[in-house]
Protein backbone atom coordinates (compact mmCIF):
# COMPACT_ATOMS: atom_id res chain seq x y z
CA UNK A 1 0.00 0.00 0.00
CA UNK A 2 1.26 3.43 -0.92
CA UNK A 3 0.15 6.41 1.01
CA UNK A 4 0.85 10.01 0.19
CA UNK A 5 0.01 12.53 2.83
CA UNK A 6 -0.14 16.27 2.35
CA UNK A 7 2.99 16.54 0.22
CA UNK A 8 4.44 19.99 -0.37
CA UNK A 9 7.45 20.56 -2.56
CA UNK A 10 8.93 23.72 -4.03
CA UNK A 11 11.93 24.04 -6.31
CA UNK A 12 13.87 27.16 -5.57
CA UNK A 13 16.12 28.56 -8.22
CA UNK A 14 17.68 31.99 -8.58
CA UNK A 15 14.97 33.35 -10.79
CA UNK A 16 11.81 31.91 -9.42
CA UNK A 17 10.23 29.42 -7.14
CA UNK A 18 8.12 26.67 -8.60
CA UNK A 19 5.60 25.01 -6.40
CA UNK A 20 5.46 21.46 -7.69
CA UNK A 21 3.42 19.83 -4.96
CA UNK A 22 0.91 21.68 -2.91
CA UNK A 23 -0.58 19.43 -0.27
CA UNK A 24 -1.12 16.31 -2.37
CA UNK A 25 -2.62 13.31 -0.59
CA UNK A 26 -3.86 9.99 -1.90
CA UNK A 27 -3.70 6.31 -1.21
CA UNK A 28 -3.02 3.43 -3.56
CA UNK A 29 -4.41 0.25 -2.10
CA UNK A 30 -3.16 -3.30 -2.42
CA UNK A 31 -4.96 -5.35 -5.06
CA UNK A 32 -5.84 -2.26 -7.03
CA UNK A 33 -4.37 -0.42 -9.94
CA UNK A 34 -4.24 3.25 -9.21
CA UNK A 35 -3.68 5.69 -12.04
CA UNK A 36 -2.36 9.20 -11.70
CA UNK A 37 -3.58 11.56 -14.31
CA UNK A 38 -2.44 15.08 -14.68
CA UNK A 39 -1.30 17.55 -17.25
CA UNK A 40 2.41 18.08 -17.81
CA UNK A 41 3.94 19.96 -14.93
CA UNK A 42 1.16 18.94 -12.58
CA UNK A 43 3.66 17.28 -10.26
CA UNK A 44 3.23 13.63 -11.16
CA UNK A 45 6.93 12.88 -11.58
CA UNK A 46 7.86 14.95 -8.55
CA UNK A 47 5.33 13.00 -6.55
CA UNK A 48 6.67 9.69 -7.72
CA UNK A 49 10.25 10.74 -7.11
CA UNK A 50 9.32 11.63 -3.60
CA UNK A 51 7.94 8.14 -3.30
CA UNK A 52 11.30 6.65 -4.39
CA UNK A 53 13.06 8.86 -1.86
CA UNK A 54 14.96 10.75 -4.51
CA UNK A 55 13.33 13.97 -3.44
CA UNK A 56 12.54 15.15 0.04
CA UNK A 57 9.16 16.72 0.60
CA UNK A 58 9.06 20.14 2.22
CA UNK A 59 6.08 19.05 4.18
CA UNK A 60 4.04 15.88 4.50
CA UNK A 61 5.25 12.35 3.94
CA UNK A 62 4.92 9.28 1.84
CA UNK A 63 4.78 5.75 3.19
CA UNK A 64 5.21 2.40 1.50
CA UNK A 65 3.45 -0.30 3.45
CA UNK A 66 3.59 2.01 6.42
CA UNK A 67 7.32 2.75 6.13
CA UNK A 68 8.16 6.39 5.84
CA UNK A 69 10.32 6.87 2.79
CA UNK A 70 12.23 9.82 4.21
CA UNK A 71 13.16 7.95 7.34
CA UNK A 72 14.08 4.56 5.98
CA UNK A 73 14.56 5.04 2.27
CA UNK A 74 16.39 1.77 1.69
CA UNK A 75 13.85 -0.31 3.56
CA UNK A 76 11.04 1.46 1.72
CA UNK A 77 12.64 0.96 -1.68
CA UNK A 78 12.95 -2.73 -1.03
CA UNK A 79 9.20 -2.89 -1.15
CA UNK A 80 9.05 -1.02 -4.41
CA UNK A 81 9.35 -1.98 -8.00
CA UNK A 82 10.09 1.07 -10.08
CA UNK A 83 9.57 1.85 -13.71
CA UNK A 84 10.98 5.39 -13.99
CA UNK A 85 9.86 8.04 -16.44
CA UNK A 86 13.17 8.05 -18.25
CA UNK A 87 14.74 4.70 -18.38
CA UNK A 88 18.03 3.76 -19.89
CA UNK A 89 19.87 0.51 -20.14
CA UNK A 90 23.42 -0.56 -19.57
CA UNK A 91 24.15 -1.07 -23.19
CA UNK A 92 27.27 -3.14 -22.67
CA UNK A 93 25.37 -5.69 -20.58
CA UNK A 94 22.98 -8.34 -21.81
CA UNK A 95 19.36 -8.20 -20.81
CA UNK A 96 19.90 -11.13 -18.50
CA UNK A 97 22.85 -9.43 -16.81
CA UNK A 98 20.84 -6.29 -16.22
CA UNK A 99 18.00 -8.14 -14.62
CA UNK A 100 20.48 -10.15 -12.61
CA UNK A 101 22.13 -6.90 -11.49
CA UNK A 102 18.92 -5.47 -10.11
CA UNK A 103 17.90 -8.77 -8.60
CA UNK A 104 21.23 -8.86 -6.75
CA UNK A 105 20.81 -5.33 -5.55
CA UNK A 106 17.52 -6.42 -4.06
CA UNK A 107 19.36 -9.11 -2.20
CA UNK A 108 18.38 -12.12 -4.27
CA UNK A 109 20.92 -14.82 -4.80
CA UNK A 110 21.71 -18.29 -6.00
CA UNK A 111 19.08 -20.60 -7.45
CA UNK A 112 16.30 -18.37 -6.20
CA UNK A 113 17.54 -15.46 -8.19
CA UNK A 114 18.10 -17.59 -11.22
CA UNK A 115 14.61 -19.01 -11.09
CA UNK A 116 13.09 -15.56 -10.61
CA UNK A 117 14.93 -14.22 -13.61
CA UNK A 118 13.92 -17.14 -15.77
CA UNK A 119 10.33 -16.70 -14.67
CA UNK A 120 10.18 -13.02 -15.48
CA UNK A 121 11.81 -13.66 -18.84
CA UNK A 122 9.09 -16.13 -19.67
CA UNK A 123 6.35 -13.91 -18.31
CA UNK A 124 7.43 -11.02 -20.46
CA UNK A 125 8.06 -13.23 -23.47
CA UNK A 126 11.62 -12.13 -23.83
CA UNK A 127 13.66 -15.33 -23.45
CA UNK A 128 15.15 -14.93 -26.88
CA UNK A 129 16.34 -11.42 -25.95
CA UNK A 130 17.95 -12.49 -22.71
CA UNK A 131 21.52 -13.01 -23.81
CA UNK A 132 21.84 -10.19 -26.26
CA UNK A 133 23.54 -6.94 -25.34
CA UNK A 134 20.88 -4.29 -25.01
CA UNK A 135 22.50 -1.86 -27.39
CA UNK A 136 20.20 -1.43 -30.37
CA UNK A 137 17.11 -2.75 -28.63
CA UNK A 138 13.79 -1.35 -29.85
CA UNK A 139 11.71 0.80 -27.54
CA UNK A 140 9.48 -2.16 -26.79
CA UNK A 141 12.38 -4.41 -26.01
CA UNK A 142 13.87 -1.77 -23.77
CA UNK A 143 10.61 -1.41 -21.95
CA UNK A 144 10.51 -5.12 -21.37
CA UNK A 145 13.98 -5.17 -19.91
CA UNK A 146 13.16 -2.26 -17.66
CA UNK A 147 9.95 -3.90 -16.62
CA UNK A 148 11.75 -7.15 -15.94
CA UNK A 149 14.33 -5.51 -13.74
CA UNK A 150 11.61 -3.66 -11.84
CA UNK A 151 9.56 -6.78 -11.28
CA UNK A 152 12.15 -9.51 -10.87
CA UNK A 153 12.13 -9.28 -7.09
CA UNK A 154 8.32 -9.49 -7.02
CA UNK A 155 7.80 -6.15 -5.28
CA UNK A 156 4.74 -5.69 -3.16
CA UNK A 157 4.26 -2.25 -4.60
CA UNK A 158 4.79 -1.28 -8.18
CA UNK A 159 5.19 2.26 -9.45
CA UNK A 160 5.23 3.04 -13.15
CA UNK A 161 5.88 6.48 -14.57
CA UNK A 162 4.19 6.66 -17.98
CA UNK A 163 5.15 3.14 -18.94
CA UNK A 164 3.32 2.91 -22.27
CA UNK A 165 5.10 5.80 -23.88
CA UNK A 166 6.37 4.75 -27.29
CA UNK A 167 5.11 1.24 -27.07
CA UNK A 168 3.39 -0.58 -29.87
CA UNK A 169 0.13 -2.30 -29.36
CA UNK A 170 1.63 -5.70 -28.65
CA UNK A 171 3.96 -4.42 -26.00
CA UNK A 172 1.25 -2.37 -24.41
CA UNK A 173 -0.92 -5.44 -24.22
CA UNK A 174 1.82 -7.45 -22.56
CA UNK A 175 2.27 -4.70 -20.01
CA UNK A 176 -1.40 -4.50 -19.32
CA UNK A 177 -1.71 -8.23 -18.91
CA UNK A 178 1.16 -8.29 -16.55
CA UNK A 179 -0.22 -5.49 -14.45
CA UNK A 180 -3.55 -7.25 -14.31
CA UNK A 181 -1.82 -10.41 -13.13
CA UNK A 182 -0.05 -8.49 -10.39
CA UNK A 183 -3.29 -6.99 -9.31
CA UNK A 184 -4.80 -10.42 -9.01
CA UNK A 185 -2.00 -11.42 -6.71
CA UNK A 186 -2.84 -8.52 -4.45
CA UNK A 187 -0.01 -6.15 -5.30
CA UNK A 188 -0.35 -2.44 -5.15
CA UNK A 189 0.13 -0.78 -8.51
CA UNK A 190 0.49 2.90 -9.09
CA UNK A 191 1.02 4.32 -12.50
CA UNK A 192 0.93 7.65 -14.17
CA UNK A 193 -0.23 8.17 -17.69
CA UNK A 194 -1.53 10.54 -20.27
CA UNK A 195 -3.54 8.04 -22.14
CA UNK A 196 -7.14 8.20 -21.04
CA UNK A 197 -8.32 5.00 -22.65
CA UNK A 198 -5.57 3.10 -20.96
CA UNK A 199 -6.32 4.55 -17.58
CA UNK A 200 -10.00 3.99 -18.15
CA UNK A 201 -9.48 0.40 -19.16
CA UNK A 202 -6.96 -0.55 -16.53
CA UNK A 203 -7.38 1.48 -13.42
CA UNK A 204 -9.55 0.68 -10.49
CA UNK A 205 -9.03 4.13 -9.17
CA UNK A 206 -7.89 7.33 -10.81
CA UNK A 207 -6.23 10.26 -9.13
CA UNK A 208 -6.24 13.52 -10.98
CA UNK A 209 -3.48 15.87 -10.05
CA UNK A 210 -3.37 19.47 -11.05
CA UNK A 211 -1.04 22.23 -9.91
CA UNK A 212 0.42 19.98 -7.30
CA UNK A 213 -2.95 19.32 -5.73
CA UNK A 214 -5.42 16.54 -5.82
CA UNK A 215 -8.11 17.65 -8.24
CA UNK A 216 -10.32 14.59 -7.95
CA UNK A 217 -10.23 10.88 -7.28
CA UNK A 218 -12.38 7.83 -7.73
CA UNK A 219 -13.09 5.08 -10.21
CA UNK A 220 -13.14 6.19 -13.82
CA UNK A 221 -16.90 5.95 -13.74
CA UNK A 222 -17.14 8.01 -10.60
CA UNK A 223 -15.03 10.71 -12.18
CA UNK A 224 -17.16 10.78 -15.29
CA UNK A 225 -20.19 11.05 -13.12
CA UNK A 226 -18.62 13.75 -11.05
CA UNK A 227 -17.89 15.80 -14.10
CA UNK A 228 -21.09 14.81 -15.82
CA UNK A 229 -19.26 13.68 -18.90
CA UNK A 230 -19.33 10.40 -20.78
CA UNK A 231 -15.68 10.25 -21.70
CA UNK A 232 -12.95 10.25 -19.10
CA UNK A 233 -11.03 12.71 -21.18
CA UNK A 234 -13.81 15.24 -21.08
CA UNK A 235 -14.23 14.65 -17.39
CA UNK A 236 -10.50 15.14 -16.88
CA UNK A 237 -10.47 18.45 -18.68
CA UNK A 238 -13.42 19.63 -16.72
CA UNK A 239 -11.99 18.47 -13.42
CA UNK A 240 -8.65 20.20 -13.76
CA UNK A 241 -10.53 23.31 -14.67
CA UNK A 242 -8.79 24.24 -17.88
CA UNK A 243 -7.78 22.68 -21.10
CA UNK A 244 -4.26 23.88 -21.23
CA UNK A 245 -2.86 20.65 -19.80
CA UNK A 246 -4.37 18.45 -22.44
CA UNK A 247 -3.12 20.51 -25.26
CA UNK A 248 0.45 20.30 -24.05
Amino acid sequence: MIEVNNLHKSFVSKKNTVKALDGLSFTAKDGEITGILGPNGAGKTTCLRTLYGLLRADEGYATIDGIKVTEEPIKARKLLGIFPDKFGLYERLTAYEQIDYFASIHGMKGANKHAAIEQILIDLEMTELAHRKTVGFSQGQRMKVTLAQALVHQPKNFVLDEPTRGLDVMSTRILRNHLAKFKEKGHCILFSSHVMQEVAALCDRVIIVSNGKLAAQGTPQELCDLAGEKQLEEAFVKLIGSDEGVAA
Binding site: A76, R77, P84
Partner: protein, 387 residues
Protein backbone atom coordinates in the same frame (compact mmCIF):
# COMPACT_ATOMS: atom_id res chain seq x y z
CA UNK B 1 28.36 -7.05 0.95
CA UNK B 2 26.53 -8.97 -1.69
CA UNK B 3 25.12 -5.77 -3.05
CA UNK B 4 28.60 -4.26 -3.25
CA UNK B 5 29.82 -7.33 -5.04
CA UNK B 6 27.00 -7.13 -7.54
CA UNK B 7 27.66 -3.44 -8.09
CA UNK B 8 31.35 -4.07 -8.64
CA UNK B 9 30.81 -7.01 -10.92
CA UNK B 10 28.60 -4.88 -13.08
CA UNK B 11 31.07 -1.97 -13.15
CA UNK B 12 33.93 -4.21 -14.14
CA UNK B 13 31.87 -5.96 -16.77
CA UNK B 14 30.93 -2.66 -18.30
CA UNK B 15 34.42 -1.22 -18.07
CA UNK B 16 36.04 -4.20 -19.68
CA UNK B 17 33.48 -4.25 -22.44
CA UNK B 18 34.11 -0.60 -23.16
CA UNK B 19 36.82 -1.01 -25.75
CA UNK B 20 37.32 2.69 -26.24
CA UNK B 21 37.88 3.45 -22.57
CA UNK B 22 40.14 0.46 -22.21
CA UNK B 23 42.14 1.50 -25.22
CA UNK B 24 42.69 4.95 -23.76
CA UNK B 25 43.73 3.45 -20.46
CA UNK B 26 46.11 0.96 -21.97
CA UNK B 27 47.44 3.26 -24.64
CA UNK B 28 49.09 5.25 -21.88
CA UNK B 29 50.82 2.10 -20.80
CA UNK B 30 51.84 1.19 -24.32
CA UNK B 31 52.90 4.66 -25.35
CA UNK B 32 55.06 5.30 -22.36
CA UNK B 33 57.80 2.77 -23.08
CA UNK B 34 57.81 3.84 -26.69
CA UNK B 35 58.10 7.46 -25.71
CA UNK B 36 60.86 6.78 -23.21
CA UNK B 37 62.70 4.73 -25.81
CA UNK B 38 62.48 7.48 -28.39
CA UNK B 39 63.56 10.10 -25.90
CA UNK B 40 66.50 8.02 -24.83
CA UNK B 41 67.53 7.33 -28.38
CA UNK B 42 67.52 11.04 -29.12
CA UNK B 43 69.39 11.82 -25.94
CA UNK B 44 71.95 9.15 -26.65
CA UNK B 45 72.41 10.37 -30.19
CA UNK B 46 73.08 13.82 -28.86
CA UNK B 47 75.43 12.55 -26.20
CA UNK B 48 77.52 10.41 -28.48
CA UNK B 49 79.25 13.39 -29.90
CA UNK B 50 81.38 11.97 -32.60
CA UNK B 51 79.65 10.26 -35.49
CA UNK B 52 82.08 9.61 -38.29
CA UNK B 53 82.56 12.37 -40.84
CA UNK B 54 84.12 11.67 -44.22
CA UNK B 55 86.13 14.37 -45.88
CA UNK B 56 87.60 14.43 -49.36
CA UNK B 57 91.18 15.36 -48.72
CA UNK B 58 93.62 16.52 -51.25
CA UNK B 59 97.26 16.75 -50.30
CA UNK B 60 96.71 14.78 -47.13
CA UNK B 61 100.17 13.26 -47.41
CA UNK B 62 101.66 16.67 -46.60
CA UNK B 63 100.16 16.95 -43.13
CA UNK B 64 100.07 13.50 -41.56
CA UNK B 65 99.85 14.84 -38.03
CA UNK B 66 96.88 17.02 -38.81
CA UNK B 67 95.16 14.11 -40.49
CA UNK B 68 95.93 12.05 -37.42
CA UNK B 69 94.41 14.73 -35.19
CA UNK B 70 91.30 14.78 -37.35
CA UNK B 71 91.11 11.02 -37.20
CA UNK B 72 91.20 11.15 -33.43
CA UNK B 73 87.96 13.11 -33.60
CA UNK B 74 86.48 10.56 -35.97
CA UNK B 75 86.89 12.77 -39.01
CA UNK B 76 88.03 10.34 -41.67
CA UNK B 77 89.15 10.32 -45.24
CA UNK B 78 86.50 9.82 -47.90
CA UNK B 79 88.57 6.96 -49.24
CA UNK B 80 87.63 4.99 -46.10
CA UNK B 81 83.90 5.57 -46.35
CA UNK B 82 81.84 2.39 -45.98
CA UNK B 83 79.91 1.34 -49.08
CA UNK B 84 76.44 2.03 -47.70
CA UNK B 85 77.29 5.60 -46.77
CA UNK B 86 79.33 6.38 -49.82
CA UNK B 87 76.52 8.01 -51.79
CA UNK B 88 75.58 10.21 -48.85
CA UNK B 89 79.00 11.54 -48.23
CA UNK B 90 79.70 11.94 -51.90
CA UNK B 91 76.69 14.22 -52.08
CA UNK B 92 77.65 16.11 -48.96
CA UNK B 93 81.04 16.63 -50.56
CA UNK B 94 83.20 18.17 -47.87
CA UNK B 95 86.59 18.99 -49.29
CA UNK B 96 89.73 19.90 -47.39
CA UNK B 97 92.65 20.98 -49.48
CA UNK B 98 96.12 20.91 -47.98
CA UNK B 99 98.70 22.80 -50.03
CA UNK B 100 101.83 21.06 -51.30
CA UNK B 101 103.90 23.57 -49.45
CA UNK B 102 102.44 22.55 -46.08
CA UNK B 103 105.54 20.92 -44.63
CA UNK B 104 107.91 23.53 -45.97
CA UNK B 105 105.76 26.45 -44.78
CA UNK B 106 105.36 24.80 -41.42
CA UNK B 107 109.09 24.48 -41.00
CA UNK B 108 109.60 28.02 -42.25
CA UNK B 109 106.96 29.35 -39.89
CA UNK B 110 104.92 30.81 -42.69
CA UNK B 111 101.13 30.91 -42.54
CA UNK B 112 99.60 27.88 -44.22
CA UNK B 113 96.29 28.18 -45.97
CA UNK B 114 93.98 25.22 -45.92
CA UNK B 115 90.75 25.32 -47.87
CA UNK B 116 87.55 23.88 -46.46
CA UNK B 117 84.89 23.65 -49.12
CA UNK B 118 81.32 22.57 -48.49
CA UNK B 119 77.70 23.69 -48.71
CA UNK B 120 77.47 25.79 -45.56
CA UNK B 121 73.73 26.16 -45.96
CA UNK B 122 73.17 22.46 -45.67
CA UNK B 123 71.83 21.83 -42.16
CA UNK B 124 73.24 18.35 -41.81
CA UNK B 125 76.72 19.66 -42.50
CA UNK B 126 76.84 22.33 -39.84
CA UNK B 127 78.07 19.98 -37.11
CA UNK B 128 80.69 18.22 -39.26
CA UNK B 129 81.98 21.59 -40.46
CA UNK B 130 82.16 22.89 -36.93
CA UNK B 131 84.05 19.82 -35.82
CA UNK B 132 86.55 20.06 -38.65
CA UNK B 133 87.10 23.73 -37.92
CA UNK B 134 87.56 22.99 -34.23
CA UNK B 135 90.18 20.34 -34.85
CA UNK B 136 92.09 22.48 -37.33
CA UNK B 137 91.97 25.47 -35.00
CA UNK B 138 93.06 23.46 -31.98
CA UNK B 139 95.82 21.84 -33.93
CA UNK B 140 96.97 25.19 -35.20
CA UNK B 141 96.78 26.70 -31.75
CA UNK B 142 98.73 23.85 -30.22
CA UNK B 143 101.52 24.38 -32.72
CA UNK B 144 101.44 28.09 -32.06
CA UNK B 145 101.74 27.59 -28.32
CA UNK B 146 104.66 25.26 -28.74
CA UNK B 147 106.42 27.60 -31.17
CA UNK B 148 106.29 30.34 -28.60
CA UNK B 149 107.24 28.04 -25.77
CA UNK B 150 110.42 26.90 -27.47
CA UNK B 151 111.25 30.52 -28.14
CA UNK B 152 111.30 31.11 -24.42
CA UNK B 153 107.97 32.87 -24.20
CA UNK B 154 105.65 32.25 -21.29
CA UNK B 155 102.60 30.93 -23.11
CA UNK B 156 100.33 32.18 -20.38
CA UNK B 157 100.87 35.53 -22.07
CA UNK B 158 98.49 34.35 -24.75
CA UNK B 159 95.60 34.35 -22.39
CA UNK B 160 95.72 37.64 -20.53
CA UNK B 161 92.19 37.31 -19.27
CA UNK B 162 90.61 34.14 -18.14
CA UNK B 163 86.92 34.09 -17.48
CA UNK B 164 85.83 31.84 -14.68
CA UNK B 165 82.21 30.92 -15.09
CA UNK B 166 79.93 29.96 -12.24
CA UNK B 167 76.58 28.59 -13.15
CA UNK B 168 74.09 28.94 -10.34
CA UNK B 169 71.55 26.70 -12.00
CA UNK B 170 70.98 23.35 -10.43
CA UNK B 171 72.89 20.71 -12.31
CA UNK B 172 70.62 18.83 -14.64
CA UNK B 173 71.16 16.19 -17.19
CA UNK B 174 69.36 14.10 -19.70
CA UNK B 175 69.14 11.38 -17.14
CA UNK B 176 67.49 13.65 -14.65
CA UNK B 177 65.03 14.83 -17.23
CA UNK B 178 64.22 11.27 -18.11
CA UNK B 179 63.59 10.25 -14.54
CA UNK B 180 61.53 13.37 -13.99
CA UNK B 181 59.49 12.68 -17.06
CA UNK B 182 59.11 9.05 -16.12
CA UNK B 183 57.83 10.17 -12.74
CA UNK B 184 55.39 12.62 -14.27
CA UNK B 185 54.30 10.05 -16.78
CA UNK B 186 53.61 7.41 -14.16
CA UNK B 187 51.69 9.99 -12.18
CA UNK B 188 49.71 10.95 -15.25
CA UNK B 189 49.03 7.33 -16.03
CA UNK B 190 47.66 6.94 -12.54
CA UNK B 191 45.43 9.90 -13.18
CA UNK B 192 44.47 9.34 -16.75
CA UNK B 193 44.05 5.64 -17.23
CA UNK B 194 40.93 5.45 -15.11
CA UNK B 195 39.52 8.66 -16.51
CA UNK B 196 37.32 7.36 -19.33
CA UNK B 197 35.93 4.69 -17.07
CA UNK B 198 35.24 7.14 -14.28
CA UNK B 199 33.46 9.58 -16.57
CA UNK B 200 31.53 6.89 -18.32
CA UNK B 201 30.30 5.33 -15.12
CA UNK B 202 29.21 8.66 -13.68
CA UNK B 203 28.30 11.38 -16.13
CA UNK B 204 27.85 8.79 -18.83
CA UNK B 205 25.38 6.73 -16.86
CA UNK B 206 23.45 9.81 -15.99
CA UNK B 207 23.26 10.82 -19.59
CA UNK B 208 22.03 7.36 -20.50
CA UNK B 209 19.30 7.63 -17.85
CA UNK B 210 20.42 4.61 -15.91
CA UNK B 211 21.62 6.46 -12.87
CA UNK B 212 18.17 7.43 -11.67
CA UNK B 213 17.09 3.84 -11.76
CA UNK B 214 20.07 2.88 -9.67
CA UNK B 215 19.50 5.64 -7.17
CA UNK B 216 15.94 4.43 -6.67
CA UNK B 217 17.19 1.04 -5.64
CA UNK B 218 17.56 -0.05 -2.05
CA UNK B 219 21.30 0.45 -1.98
CA UNK B 220 23.39 3.08 -0.24
CA UNK B 221 25.12 5.67 -2.38
CA UNK B 222 28.35 4.86 -0.57
CA UNK B 223 28.30 1.38 -2.07
CA UNK B 224 27.61 2.78 -5.49
CA UNK B 225 30.54 5.18 -5.19
CA UNK B 226 32.84 2.48 -3.87
CA UNK B 227 31.99 0.17 -6.74
CA UNK B 228 32.67 2.84 -9.32
CA UNK B 229 35.82 3.94 -7.54
CA UNK B 230 37.27 0.48 -7.31
CA UNK B 231 36.57 -0.15 -10.95
CA UNK B 232 38.15 3.06 -12.24
CA UNK B 233 41.18 2.75 -9.99
CA UNK B 234 41.66 -0.91 -10.85
CA UNK B 235 41.90 0.05 -14.47
CA UNK B 236 44.60 2.60 -13.68
CA UNK B 237 46.47 0.14 -11.49
CA UNK B 238 46.43 -2.44 -14.26
CA UNK B 239 47.59 0.20 -16.67
CA UNK B 240 50.46 1.20 -14.39
CA UNK B 241 51.57 -2.37 -13.87
CA UNK B 242 51.51 -2.90 -17.60
CA UNK B 243 53.44 0.30 -18.12
CA UNK B 244 56.11 -0.60 -15.59
CA UNK B 245 56.56 -4.05 -17.05
CA UNK B 246 56.82 -2.74 -20.59
CA UNK B 247 59.13 0.08 -19.56
CA UNK B 248 61.51 -2.22 -17.79
CA UNK B 249 61.55 -4.41 -20.87
CA UNK B 250 62.09 -1.41 -23.12
CA UNK B 251 65.00 -0.26 -20.98
CA UNK B 252 66.93 -3.32 -22.03
CA UNK B 253 67.01 -2.06 -25.57
CA UNK B 254 68.79 1.21 -24.91
CA UNK B 255 72.31 1.67 -23.67
CA UNK B 256 71.78 4.17 -20.92
CA UNK B 257 75.39 4.33 -19.88
CA UNK B 258 76.16 6.35 -22.97
CA UNK B 259 74.30 9.33 -21.58
CA UNK B 260 75.38 8.65 -18.07
CA UNK B 261 72.07 7.44 -16.89
CA UNK B 262 71.37 4.54 -14.68
CA UNK B 263 68.19 3.13 -13.67
CA UNK B 264 66.57 -0.16 -13.79
CA UNK B 265 63.21 -1.23 -12.58
CA UNK B 266 64.03 -4.20 -10.44
CA UNK B 267 61.57 -6.10 -8.29
CA UNK B 268 62.03 -3.83 -5.31
CA UNK B 269 61.69 -0.63 -7.29
CA UNK B 270 58.65 -2.11 -8.93
CA UNK B 271 56.97 -2.80 -5.62
CA UNK B 272 57.84 0.59 -4.18
CA UNK B 273 56.54 2.39 -7.24
CA UNK B 274 53.32 0.43 -7.02
CA UNK B 275 52.99 1.21 -3.33
CA UNK B 276 53.40 4.86 -4.18
CA UNK B 277 51.06 4.90 -7.11
CA UNK B 278 48.15 2.77 -5.94
CA UNK B 279 46.89 5.37 -3.43
CA UNK B 280 47.25 7.93 -6.21
CA UNK B 281 45.02 5.81 -8.42
CA UNK B 282 42.33 5.80 -5.77
CA UNK B 283 42.67 9.50 -5.19
CA UNK B 284 42.51 10.21 -8.88
CA UNK B 285 39.44 8.05 -9.36
CA UNK B 286 37.63 9.69 -6.47
CA UNK B 287 38.46 13.16 -7.76
CA UNK B 288 37.30 12.25 -11.24
CA UNK B 289 34.04 10.79 -10.02
CA UNK B 290 33.39 13.82 -7.87
CA UNK B 291 33.96 16.23 -10.72
CA UNK B 292 32.16 14.12 -13.27
CA UNK B 293 29.05 13.82 -11.11
CA UNK B 294 29.22 17.53 -10.54
CA UNK B 295 29.26 18.28 -14.25
CA UNK B 296 26.03 19.02 -16.07
CA UNK B 297 26.73 16.81 -19.05
CA UNK B 298 29.06 14.14 -20.34
CA UNK B 299 30.88 16.71 -22.44
CA UNK B 300 31.32 19.06 -19.55
CA UNK B 301 32.54 16.21 -17.41
CA UNK B 302 35.12 15.33 -19.99
CA UNK B 303 36.52 18.83 -20.18
CA UNK B 304 36.54 19.59 -16.45
CA UNK B 305 37.94 16.25 -15.47
CA UNK B 306 40.62 16.49 -18.10
CA UNK B 307 41.73 19.64 -16.34
CA UNK B 308 42.45 17.46 -13.34
CA UNK B 309 45.24 15.78 -15.24
CA UNK B 310 47.15 19.01 -15.09
CA UNK B 311 47.61 18.56 -11.36
CA UNK B 312 49.88 15.53 -11.37
CA UNK B 313 51.99 16.86 -14.21
CA UNK B 314 52.16 20.31 -12.78
CA UNK B 315 53.05 19.45 -9.22
CA UNK B 316 56.35 17.62 -9.90
CA UNK B 317 57.55 20.48 -12.07
CA UNK B 318 56.53 22.99 -9.46
CA UNK B 319 58.45 20.96 -6.90
CA UNK B 320 61.52 21.07 -9.09
CA UNK B 321 61.35 24.84 -9.11
CA UNK B 322 60.98 25.02 -5.34
CA UNK B 323 64.26 25.61 -3.60
CA UNK B 324 63.21 25.34 -0.02
CA UNK B 325 60.59 22.70 0.18
CA UNK B 326 58.41 23.11 3.23
CA UNK B 327 57.99 19.93 5.22
CA UNK B 328 54.37 19.45 4.28
CA UNK B 329 55.11 18.79 0.63
CA UNK B 330 56.76 15.57 1.71
CA UNK B 331 53.58 14.00 2.95
CA UNK B 332 51.04 15.87 0.88
CA UNK B 333 49.39 13.63 -1.70
CA UNK B 334 50.96 13.74 -5.16
CA UNK B 335 53.89 15.93 -4.15
CA UNK B 336 54.94 13.40 -1.53
CA UNK B 337 54.79 10.55 -3.98
CA UNK B 338 56.53 12.58 -6.59
CA UNK B 339 59.44 13.36 -4.26
CA UNK B 340 59.68 9.74 -3.21
CA UNK B 341 59.66 8.60 -6.81
CA UNK B 342 62.50 10.99 -7.50
CA UNK B 343 64.43 9.31 -4.69
CA UNK B 344 63.65 5.88 -6.08
CA UNK B 345 64.95 6.84 -9.49
CA UNK B 346 68.04 8.39 -7.96
CA UNK B 347 68.70 5.15 -6.15
CA UNK B 348 68.41 6.74 -2.73
CA UNK B 349 67.17 4.54 0.07
CA UNK B 350 63.45 4.86 0.41
CA UNK B 351 62.10 6.84 3.34
CA UNK B 352 59.47 4.42 4.59
CA UNK B 353 58.07 6.90 7.05
CA UNK B 354 57.46 9.44 4.34
CA UNK B 355 55.95 6.73 2.17
CA UNK B 356 53.62 5.69 4.95
CA UNK B 357 52.65 9.27 5.73
CA UNK B 358 51.97 10.30 2.21
CA UNK B 359 50.06 7.09 1.49
CA UNK B 360 47.94 7.55 4.58
CA UNK B 361 47.36 11.19 3.72
CA UNK B 362 46.33 10.23 0.21
CA UNK B 363 43.99 7.53 1.41
CA UNK B 364 42.45 9.78 4.04
CA UNK B 365 41.82 12.36 1.37
CA UNK B 366 40.32 9.71 -0.86
CA UNK B 367 38.02 8.51 1.89
CA UNK B 368 36.96 12.08 2.49
CA UNK B 369 36.17 12.56 -1.17
CA UNK B 370 34.23 9.30 -1.30
CA UNK B 371 32.11 10.32 1.66
CA UNK B 372 31.45 13.72 0.17
CA UNK B 373 30.47 12.09 -3.10
CA UNK B 374 28.19 9.57 -1.42
CA UNK B 375 26.49 12.45 0.38
CA UNK B 376 26.21 14.39 -2.86
CA UNK B 377 24.45 11.54 -4.58
CA UNK B 378 21.66 11.61 -2.03
CA UNK B 379 21.09 15.30 -2.53
CA UNK B 380 18.26 16.63 -4.62
CA UNK B 381 20.65 18.62 -6.74
CA UNK B 382 21.95 15.50 -8.38
CA UNK B 383 18.42 14.22 -8.92
CA UNK B 384 17.25 17.46 -10.39
CA UNK B 385 20.00 17.45 -12.93
CA UNK B 386 18.91 13.99 -13.90
CA UNK B 387 16.12 15.30 -16.02
Amino acid sequence: MMQLKALMVKEFKEAFRDRRALMVAMSMALLMPVMIMVMLKVAIKEAVDNPAVYVKYSGEQHAPKLIEALKDENILSFSDVPKDEERNWNERNIELTIPDTFAADMAAGKPIELTLRADYNEKSLSTPIRRIKDVVNQHSLAIGYKRLLVRGVDIKLLQPIKLLEQDTALPSSNAMMITLILGVYLMMAAFMSGLPVAIDSSAGERERNVLEMLLCQPVSTLKIVLAKLSCASSISIISIILMLVLTSIAMNFVDLTKIGATFSIDAQTFVILLLLLIPICFLAASLQLLFAFQAKSFKEAQSTVTMLIMAPSFIPFALMMMDDKPAWVEWMPISGQSLLMEDVFKGLPIDWNALLFTSVATIVLTVGLVLILAKRLTSEKVVMSLS
